[in-house]
């Protein structure tokens, strides 16, 4: 049990005082901006997403009467939260500071703190708010840190600062309406530091280095994380994986509407996904630029007994209905 904290905050360690300072600054700036609307908006603008400001173009959202502050918040804070905090910061943190390692103390994220720093900075820059003069000065310091450093750890009389990564590789986030990105690189590390430290990420999934450089069936089956397993199978290719893992074939039938291509249904060992499931191997209806047709595996419920029912299920149709498929492109 940690010793109780001293009662007055000026006695606290510097790192705690700094955190308090930042949190109080943010509270005062929030007051000036007006209530943060993220928590409320999903109820008023429909949880289905169709009318949500997160999925609307800015012009469209403004035309629909969404307050301009909320539009700016969606474009800056929400988008940066996904891009920086969830997609970059989180995997880097998991890779570099695994939970088992002694925490080096409260970290500040420098350029990756831009999620919240940019939010306050932009609100003032576009004239949606003004801050007290002291607060504006303090915010300026955070902006400067976001512009000039990687992660940093303050201590009494010293500060440990990390260089920013030398390489970051990304791709657009699926379903991102405001330019959200996620880490991705399939021929090397997605994040690289000058000292050689690397973080590997495939389509946003943080993976061990072997997934990129040497995926094997043995390693896939020994891996505990299902998303890592899926990413590794996709590296090998579903067809090659099924062959190498010797999955039991439940049934094969021609894919209606996709002449010359078959649907294959396989039993998946329970240990792969941790629950009973079957795998439907399908072939794309159109050719790739290299003239081949891409194959991919779809997970389906284990009660589906034949490939047509499995294929129909993926579209909410029965096997008999799917058998009537006229054309697939």
């Amino acid at each position: 049990m940690p010793p109780p904290l001293p009662a007055r905050n000026f006695c606290w360690p510097l790192v705690a005082r700094l955190a308090t300072l930042a949190s109080e600054l943010r509270e005062r700036m929030d007051d000036r901006i007006g209530q943060r609307s993220s928590s409320l908006i999903s109820w008023t603008w429909g949880v289905s997403g169709t009318g949500s400001v997160r999925t609307m173009a800015p012009e469209e959202a403004l035309a629909a009467g969404v307050p301009v502050k909320r539009v700016v918040e969606a474009l800056v804070y929400d988008a940066l939260t996904e891009t920086l905090r969830d997609s970059v910061c989180a995997p880097v943190r998991t890779e570099l500071l695994p939970p088992a390692v002694d925490s080096p103390g409260l970290a500040w994220y420098g350029q990756h703190d831009a999620t919240w720093v940019a939010h306050y900075d932009v609100m003032a820059r576009v004239g949606l708010t003004t801050y007290l003069s002291d607060d504006q000065d303090q915010l300026g310091l955070w902006v400067e840190l976001a512009r000039s450093t990687g992660w940093w750890w303050p201590g009494e009389g010293m500060c440990v600062m990390a260089e920013r990564p030398t390489e970051i590789h990304t791709e657009p986030q699926p379903g991102g309406f405001h330019g959200e990105l996620r880490l991705h690189r399939d021929d090397g590390p997605a994040v690289l530091y000058a000292d050689g430290v690397q973080v590997h990420v495939l389509h946003g999934t943080h993976v061990p280095e072997w997934v990129i450089n040497a995926p094997t069936v043995e390693r896939i089956h020994a891996e505990r994380n299902v998303e890592v397993r899926r990413s590794a199978i996709e590296r090998i290719g579903w067809g090659a994986y099924i062959e190498q893992a010797r999955l039991r074939l439940v049934g094969t039938t021609g894919d209606p509407g996709n002449p010359g291509s078959d649907l294959h249904l396989y039993d998946v060992p329970r240990e792969l996904w941790g629950r009973p499931a079957r795998l439907l191997l399908v072939v794309n209806g159109s050719v790739e630029p290299d003239g081949r047709r891409r194959r991919y595996g779809l997970s389906v419920p284990d009660h589906l007994e034949d490939p047509l029912s499995a294929a129909g299920w993926t579209y909410g149709l029965s096997g008999e209905q799917y058998a009537g498929l006229v054309r697939r492109t």
């Binding site: 986030q173 899926r230 629950r275 499931a277 991919y296 997970s299 389906v300 909410g316 209905q321």
Partner: protein
Amino acid sequence: MTMTLAELTDLTGLDVLDHLERQVAIPVVDGLQAQGDLIVIPYAFVEHSVSTHHYTRWQDVPAAGIELLRSAAGGNPHSLVADPGTCRFTGGLRDATGLALGMIDTSAVAYLIHPEHGGTGIAPGRYVVRRQRERSTERRAWSANRMIAD
């Protein structure tokens, strides 16, 4: 009237990847057809599970098309295109499976076009467009299924 992919891309301003055959007539289908992760279902197939709301609003499909769904990488949309005034679309549906993107109601041939999958013709009629799902492989996923986006 039949149309080639070359004519369709000229007409709509939408483009497809270079390797797809552009001079062949695009088949027009009045039955069930799939384009990648989308499926076009004659309404009669699903009339018991899919319905419109009383407040469902239809929109006319312009020549430049309506984007129905984008691919996972963010870049490649499935677009619905038609001669102006001949085809309408709505996203306001109730679907027991939760897979419906919307309904197409067309009095002339409409087309689905996608940069990687090319084009396909939809005969006059009423159709439900659904997306594809798979069983989630995550044990603690919020939903047992998840949507496919190719």
